[in-house]
């Protein structure tokens, strides 16, 4: 079985850089982590590989050159091949343009299943998996909490999906894009000690627009259907704030406050 995982390195939310003049994220700085939902997806792919010996797990990433070390580490953690789509022409692509690039690459690949995180930590739109599926003309389902069963002969998967108030089990035709919901239980293995410096360049593939041949008007800022006009780093309205510590006197002040407002039970 061929499994392709869509993976995005995301900047650490505590520490990001943003170009306020051009309204684009400076993705080349401050990479910190693989998007947690995507990590769950790769981990689910490893589980499938164990169930179906001989399977291959490949990751697909569109990101600036700075992402490469993170993709190399994915290989050291057990990924068979990492594809890195990177081209200055793609900078500033929104989800629409990005899906177009990813789908263009995927069109020429063979796969039984595409796994991704449901959403990313930075954008958080959950658009990409659905849009890639639409462009490839295949099924998609998001918020998958568990892949229950894959029936390769029938080309179907049985998956559990969880929403705020419901649990669903669906059967979905393959190939399909499954958007995994983050699960703390499905984390990637650590890099084995003897693989820390392993040379993995042979398992990396870099793809540029020379390979994909997309028109310039379809990618980057010009190919995007949305445009960020204004960004505010949120500042909260000022009001009178009582600042205290955790010493006895301070706790007493908090107690008085709670009592005055009627929060303490008689």
């Amino acid at each position: 079985m061929n499994i392709i995982c869509l993976v995005k390195p995301v900047p650490d939310v505590e520490n990001f850089s943003y170009d306020y003049e051009h309204h684009v994220l400076l993705r080349d700085r401050g990479y910190q982590i693989i998007n947690p939902d995507d990590e769950t997806a790769v981990s689910a792919a490893f589980d499938l590989k164990q169930q179906f010996p001989g399977s291959t797990v490949e990751t697909l990433t569109m990101a600036p050159p700075g992402a490469r070390p993170y993709l190399e580490d994915l290989i050291r953690r057990g990924v068979d091949r990492a594809v890195h789509i990177s081209d200055p022409l793609f900078a500033g692509s929104d989800t629409y343009a990005t899906s177009g690039v990813l789908a263009k690459f995927l069109m020429d690949q063979t796969y039984d299943i595409i796994l991704s995180g449901t959403q990313t930590l930075d954008g958080g739109t959950a658009h990409i998996p659905a849009q890639v599926a639409e462009l490839l003309g295949i099924q998609h389902i998001s918020d998958v909490s568990r892949i229950d069963r894959i029936a390769l002969e029938e080309q179907t998967a049985t998956v559990n999906v969880e929403s705020e108030d419901s649990l669903y089990t669906f059967e979905i035709d393959l190939p399909a894009v499954l958007g995994m919901a983050y699960s703390a239980r499905n984390r990637l293995p650590y890099i084995p000690y003897d693989a820390i410096n392993e040379e993995v360049g042979g398992k990396m593939k870099t793809v540029t627009n020379t390979d994909l041949g997309l028109e310039r008007s379809r990618v980057g800022l010009t190919g995007s259907m949305t445009q960020v006009l204004r960004v505010e780093v949120h500042t909260y309205a000022r009001k009178e704030i009582l600042r205290v510590g955790t010493d006895d006197e301070s706790i007493d002040q908090v107690y008085q406050f709670l009592e005055k407002r009627g929060f303490l039970q008689p």
Binding site: G124, V161, M225, I241
Partner: protein, 337 residues
């Protein structure tokens, strides 16, 4: 007249109809025609509210058949040329909207929180970057303006009852559904943090002690809640998560312990009346929202406050009210509390 299509999720009908308020903010109350799209049933609750109700026959399509619903929206757009297409950000709304945006070659903005105008453009605001920023976004191209909106973001105003025209849609594009429902179970109803007047919420700073928040919550007759970080770590269940990816709450008292308070979290506590923030970092963003900022260790605070509350109770019971709680209702002069 502008034409606005609203996707009505059968599991969130009122929430879907609330999107009329977003449409109204985009175009003005009398300048648009509202089309509701209902898959599977006629959706009587939308009658009188939308101008046109487009109904796709249940036999033709199920509400989780996103690929065919997308094709159908494309077909409808071909005949009606909508100016905007709005989806509730439900499980399926969030799956259909991006597919439809590709079909319609349209800009889609996810989880819009505000609608503004800028010249002739409609500026849609959403939190981005894990809630660290608010982005104002316009859509480009000739396609309709598309968005998803979370529950409780907009609230529909009462309007004069409309004469809703019902149109049964016969999609020409339907293929056998590639997704089939095997089982659907409602989760057990758990006590909802949205209904609690008092919430004691824990964040990354107290991640390892989240169960100790329970004591304080119980003492204050409230419930515990958690930030995304705690829930993601598996230390608290998803249904008690506050914030953009969790629930929007409006308690009378919100005690945030060890929560830094990204916008994403703050979005979830828009209408909290009093906020007490306990944090070792005096510059944590949530501190600016708070009435009281306690700078220090969360556990120390909880233990200190619990001790104080219990001391006061013991003191009052020594004053002749051994079981004040039980007696109180019968004591004279106790009214008006």
């Amino acid at each position: 007249m502008k034409r606005v299509l609203i996707y009505i999720d059968q599991d969130a009908i009122e929430e879907s109809l609330d999107l009329l308020e977003a449409a109204e903010q985009m175009y003005g109350a009398d300048s648009y025609t509202a089309y509701g799209l209902s898959v599977g049933s006629a959706c009587s609750r939308a009658e009188g509210i939308v101008d046109h109700l487009l109904v796709i026959d249940a036999e033709k399509m199920s509400s989780y058949d996103v690929q065919n619903i997308t094709a159908c929206i494309d077909e409808l757009h071909g005949s009606y040329r909508f100016n905007a297409v709005l989806f509730p950000a439900t499980l399926f709304g969030r799956m259909i909207a991006p597919r439809a945006a590709v079909r319609l070659r349209a800009g889609l903005v996810a989880e819009v929180t505000e609608v503004h105008h800028r010249g002739n453009d409609i500026l849609l605001v959403r939190p981005a970057f894990s809630g660290r920023m608010l982005a104002g976004i316009i859509t480009k191209g000739d396609g309709p303006v598309m968005m998803t909106v979370r529950n409780n973001t907009f609230t529909r105003r009462k309007r004069v009852r409309k004469d809703t025209e019902i149109h049964v849609v016969h999609p020409s594009c339907s293929s056998p559904p590639g997704v089939r429902l095997i089982e659907h179970r409602r989760k057990e109803a758990v006590q909802d943090i949205r209904e609690s007047d008092v919430l004691v919420a824990g964040g990354g700073g107290v991640m390892r002690h989240i169960e100790q928040l329970e004591d304080l919550a119980r003492e204050l007759n409230g419930m515990t809640a958690a930030s995304r970080r705690v829930v993601d770590s598996g230390r608290a269940p998803r249904h008690i998560q506050v914030g953009q990816s969790g629930k929007t709450v409006s308690p009378k008292l919100y005690i945030a312990i060890g929560i830094s308070g990204s916008i994403q979290h703050a979005v979830g506590l828009k209408n909290a009346e009093c906020i007490i923030s306990v944090n070792s970092d005096p510059y944590a963003p949530i501190c600016a929202l708070a009435d009281i900022v306690v700078i220090g260790d969360g556990m120390e605070f909880i233990q200190g406050l619990l001790k104080k509350i219990r001391e006061h109770r013991t003191a009052s019971s020594e004053n002749g009210f051994p079981e004040a709680k039980e007696y109180r209702g019968n004591l004279p002069g106790n009214g008006g509390r």
